[in-house]
Symmetry: C2
Subunit: 224 residues, 2 copies
DNA sequence: ACCTGAACACCGTTCAAGT
DNA sequence: ACCTGAACACCGTTCAAGT
């Protein structure tokens, strides 16, 4: 948890970073089941059990991986001094989405446990800063921040769950084509509204879709 | 997919239902890793590979399990003829939450793949009915339904991810106690707003929390 | 048609041993 | 202190064989 200091010993063949990079590469290439301890170890050139010198167990590797994806997200806040709090919240959400859709295999890991690491806390603190700057009182800001996190992570989870592929998200053209195909497969007699809705959704993908929902949530937050 | 008919043969030792019930019981008792094909088979008293007579692979078992949890959710719609569309949407969302928090282990399965089964479609169709009754035009209703699903599943996913336990969700008292403990662990110097927000959230759990967020989303939907 | 035993190619994790 | 080989108790899935 709290030992960033170097440890003595004969020699460290690896660093935590190398292990996490290998895990992420395997995750991107082959999905969650490809990121096994044994394959990570093989990728960095050690025996499987050598990984346990660096991490207590597989869950610790996954937590560290999630944390490393969160690191520096808040760098997008405060770039434009003209930007209002709402634009800043959107920038933060879009940055998080950008990072996670780049590594779809990591999304289930993020949803799999509590987000209580230092980088997650830092991200939450920035979000609360922005809501406070927007004039929201502490209780509303607290609930609002949670609501925004629910939206952002839920939207990303559904977005990556919708694409069958294991690796990286395909380009938007391909995803639109896939939705058109899904549109054709909805039985319109039994589910007329669903068929119509699928048609509407067919050309509405990715960032645009994400931003629309985020705007509705922010509308509800300032209205409530 | 579409073969509800009986199949001939010497004798069926099991039904799909028995397998799904066993899988759900194992999921509830011991979390996702307890619901292995081998343990499911042992629970229903057959050899591991006998399961493959009923389902193509483990993913098919999981899809069927998710579908079975969705079945009949829409029974809560139309009970109260006085209820407005918004109350009906809330009833539907609360029913889905009730079912999923009763089986936390199934939540990652629901987020793990596209929700395109017949019961999922039926649920989506009911939601679209309600939004149409609320006066939303088809394009807004389509996007709004998706937004609501994002919120509901995201909120449930975060709710079950926050409790470390494998089995059923503990009672609210226990969860409040856990949040108070989490409040004490946030370093207030480095993360003052997070510490304050954690204090706010400490007594605000479960249905009440879920409903507040849902109301904000609905506010944003009718405002936008 | 359905079930079984046996096997294959994997897992995460532990332990004793080497340096 | 760190790494290795070997082992343990598991996985999902396949295949040939039985009825």
């Amino acid at each position: 948890m709290t030992e960033p200091k170097r440890k003595p010993g004969p020699r460290r063949a690896l660093t935590e970073r190398e292990i996490l990079d290998a895990a992420l590469a395997l995750l991107d290439a082959g999905g969650p089941e490809a990121a096994s301890i044994r394959r990570i170890a093989a990728a960095v050139g050690v025996a499987p059990n050598a990984v346990y010198t660096y991490f207590a167990d597989k869950a610790a590797v996954e937590r560290a991986l999630v944390e490393s994806l969160l690191e520096g997200c808040d760098g997008v806040v405060g770039r434009d001094p003209e930007a209002g709090w709402r634009a800043e919240v959107e920038a933060l959400a879009l940055e998080l989405r950008r990072r996670l859709v780049a590594h779809p295999g990591a999304v289930p890991l993020m949803l799999g446990g509590p987000m209580d690491g230092p980088h997650a806390l830092r991200l939450g603190e920035r979000l609360l800063d922005l809501l406070a700057a927007g004039g929201l009182a502490t209780p509303v800001a607290a609930r609002g921040a949670y609501l925004l996190i629910v939206y952002v992570l839920g939207a990303i989870a559904l977005e990556v769950a919708d694409v069958p592929q294991a690796g990286a998200l395909p380009p938007e053209e391909e995803r639109i084509a896939a939705r058109r195909a899904a549109f054709g497969e909805v039985p319109a007699e039994a589910f007329p509204r669903t068929a119509a809705a699928t048609g509407v959704m067919a050309t509405w993908v990715g960032t645009e879709q994400f931003r629309w929902g985020l705007d509705r949530v922010l509308d509800g937050l300032v209205a409530g």
